[in-house]
């Protein structure tokens, strides 16, 4: 299924003007708060009527202001996970989950219910009421409730923003499973680079209501010039790797990716599992010769690919390791000292401890 969005809407402080297409997988609407991200998904859900626009889901027109088509929210079959869960307090978890079922003619009911309950790990909560759930539990129930309404696409508005770090870590794996299992597009609003780096298939970066960058996640995240829009501190690309083995004695895991081996702190995943490893640009060191007798466990041969803007003391450099791109943040002085230029061979040095457990997410590509 595909989602096509094109809309403009005048707010008092800025004008929203976006157009993009979302395919199966996670399309991250990324940007600072106030960039218009939530307005976009509210328009898709039918909760906000834009001044002008067109929204199609797999050929079904949900909105076309030119011809006056405006399918009401309750007929759009769009699953929406709100930042604040919004469970119905007077219903049990089970009744909340089945709420959408009353209004959709979904076949194959009970097996799907069992599957989603298992997928989200909420079987033990079914007879409880929302008031007794933790934030993370509420959010998982909210996700299940949206999925069980048989949606044509799933909208998520910063579903982790209201949660603390342990709760975020609890939910992220579920979101990864959804991304890899669901056949429908997921539109995911976020202002957090780590979340986007773990989840996104495609990134639509918004600033002041406009699309400033759009493309596959790996490409956008490794683009040295995308970072004014992506947040400076958290900038960084990700590698697609496979778990090769663990070394429990040292508490380390050995991964393998297109550019060689990567040693990280212990990752809870079976050997053979595909993972996505986020590497922050400021955690990578560049060298022209392989450093000797160093504490860093990862020294990867690479080639300078692209050099970002050089108008400040800090420069982002994209390097290629195998077929993956890494982003490296160095000073302009180092750039000049090392005479870096595209095509120049170099070595990327990465401390294992710079990769935390939060930066590694399970990633399963299933044949389409």
């Amino acid at each position: 299924m595909t989602l096509d969005v094109a809309l403009t809407h005048r707010f008092s402080s800025f004008e929203l003007d976006v157009a993009f297409t979302a395919e199966r997988g996670v399309t991250a609407l990324f940007g600072r708060s106030g960039a218009g991200k939530t307005s976009v998904i509210n328009a898709v859900a039918g909760l906000l009527r834009p001044d002008r626009g067109r929204i199609d889901v797999s050929g079904t027109r949900l909105l076309d202001t030119a011809t006056g088509v405006d399918v009401p929210a309750h007929r759009r079959r769009v699953g929406y996970v709100f930042q604040d869960a919004r469970l119905f307090p007077h219903l049990t978890v089970r009744q909340n989950l089945l709420f959408g079922r009353w209004f959709s003619e979904a076949g194959n009911a009970s097996s799907e219910f069992a599957h989603i309950v298992a997928l989200l790990g909420i079987a033990a909560l079914l007879d409880r009421r929302p008031g007794t759930l933790s934030g993370g539990e509420k959010q998982r129930v909210a996700i299940g409730r949206a999925l069980l309404s048989a949606p044509r696409l799933l909208l998520m508005d910063e579903p982790l923003a209201a949660l603390d770090e342990p709760r975020k870590a609890e939910i992220l794996p579920y979101l990864e499973r959804l991304r890899d299992e669901l056949q429908i597009p997921i539109l995911y609003v976020s202002h957090s680079v780590p979340e986007v780096a773990r989840l996104a298939t495609t990134i639509v970066a918004l600033a002041e209501g406009k699309v400033v960058r759009l493309g596959p996640a790996a490409e956008v995240l490794s683009d040295p010039d995308a970072f004014p829009h992506m947040g400076r501190q958290e900038a960084g690309a990700f590698l697609l790797a496979r778990v090769v083995g663990h070394d429990p004695a040292d508490g380390l895991t050995r991964l393998e990716f297109s550019g060689g081996a990567l040693i990280t702190p212990l990752v809870e995943a079976e050997p053979g599992t595909r993972v996505r490893v986020r590497v922050r640009a400021r955690d990578v060191l560049l060298a022209l010769k392989p450093p000797e007798e160093t504490s860093a466990l990862n020294i990867l041969p690479a080639v300078v690919n692209r050099i970002g803007r050089q108008d400040g003391a800090i420069v982002d450099v994209a390097i290629r390791c195998g077929s993956d791109d890494l982003l490296v943040r160095i000073t302009r002085r180092s750039l000049l000292n090392l005479r870096l230029e595209p095509g120049k061979p170099c070595f990327a040095v990465l401390k294992s401890i710079a990769v935390s457990r939060r930066d590694v997410g399970v990633f399963e590509t299933r044949p389409d």
Binding site: A73, H74, H90, R129
Partner: protein, 232 residues
């Protein structure tokens, strides 16, 4: 208790309960509607409607009773219409007492329900819409259950007010034993005759008893409902 109260006193008590019951039940749907309009509506003249609803609360009851008599009396415009079309006569009938009680209790009922509606998070209704619930369904399965405590509180308040309503009732439908003589009217009547004090006192005790029982029942129901709605 059957021997304790005289047949006439029993009649007054039963009449009062009947009048208050119907006054509450029949005004409830309208009160919910008006409360919704006042809580959610955006239109010119909202303050006029609000004032109109609250009028019986601030007018002297005798004025309200007089206005009812003018409008709903056998020669009043609405009274004539009701009699000609449906054969319903309100003046000097227990149904008229119920109307007077309903009008006087209406502002209290609307107020309680309106507060409950304003406390409902519209975001929950949006969530219901994204799950496929039309506005009518959302009202039925989300909004109404959430305002149930307000509806109960408003109903009990209205019932208590109806049990105690005196001024408008006696003005509109007079004080006819067995027909329009409710508890307060009966107490008033007993106090007007020599030696009526013991009967008046008995009815006072009955009034207090009914009021307290109604309050206790509503408290326990409201508590149970509120717990359900708090989601714990």
């Amino acid at each position: 208790m059957a021997e304790w109260l005289s047949p006439a006193e029993w009649t007054a008590l039963k009449l009062s309960l009947r009048v208050s019951f119907w006054a509450t039940i029949l005004s409830l749907p309208l009160a919910v509607m008006v409360a919704f309009v006042l809580a959610r509506g955006q239109f010119r003249g909202k303050q006029v409607l609000n004032g109109l609803v609250h009028l019986p609360l601030i007018l002297p009851p005798v004025v309200t009773g007089y206005l009812l008599l003018v409008l709903f009396g056998r020669r009043g415009p609405i009274g004539t219409f009701l009699e000609d079309t449906f054969g319903i006569v309100l003046a000097f009938k227990w149904t008229g007492a119920a109307l007077a009680a309903a009008v006087m209790a209406f502002p209290l009922m609307v107020r309680a329900i309106r507060l409950a509606i304003e406390a409902v998070d519209p975001k929950l209704e949006q969530a219901a819409a994204t799950l496929g619930a039309s506005r009518a369904w959302t009202l039925a399965v989300v909004t109404l259950p959430l305002i149930l405590p307000g509806i109960i509180a408003g109903s009990v308040l209205a019932f208590a007010k109806a049990m105690g309503e005196f001024g408008a009732t006696i003005t509109f439908v007079s004080n006819i034993p067995g027909q329009t003589q409710t508890l307060p009217s009966a107490i008033y009547a007993y106090l007007q005759v020599p030696g009526g004090d013991p009967a008046a006192f008995r009815l006072v005790v009955v009034s207090i008893f009914v009021a307290v029982v109604a309050l206790l029942i509503s408290e326990s129901v409201a508590k149970r409902v509120a717990r359900r709605i708090a989601g714990t």
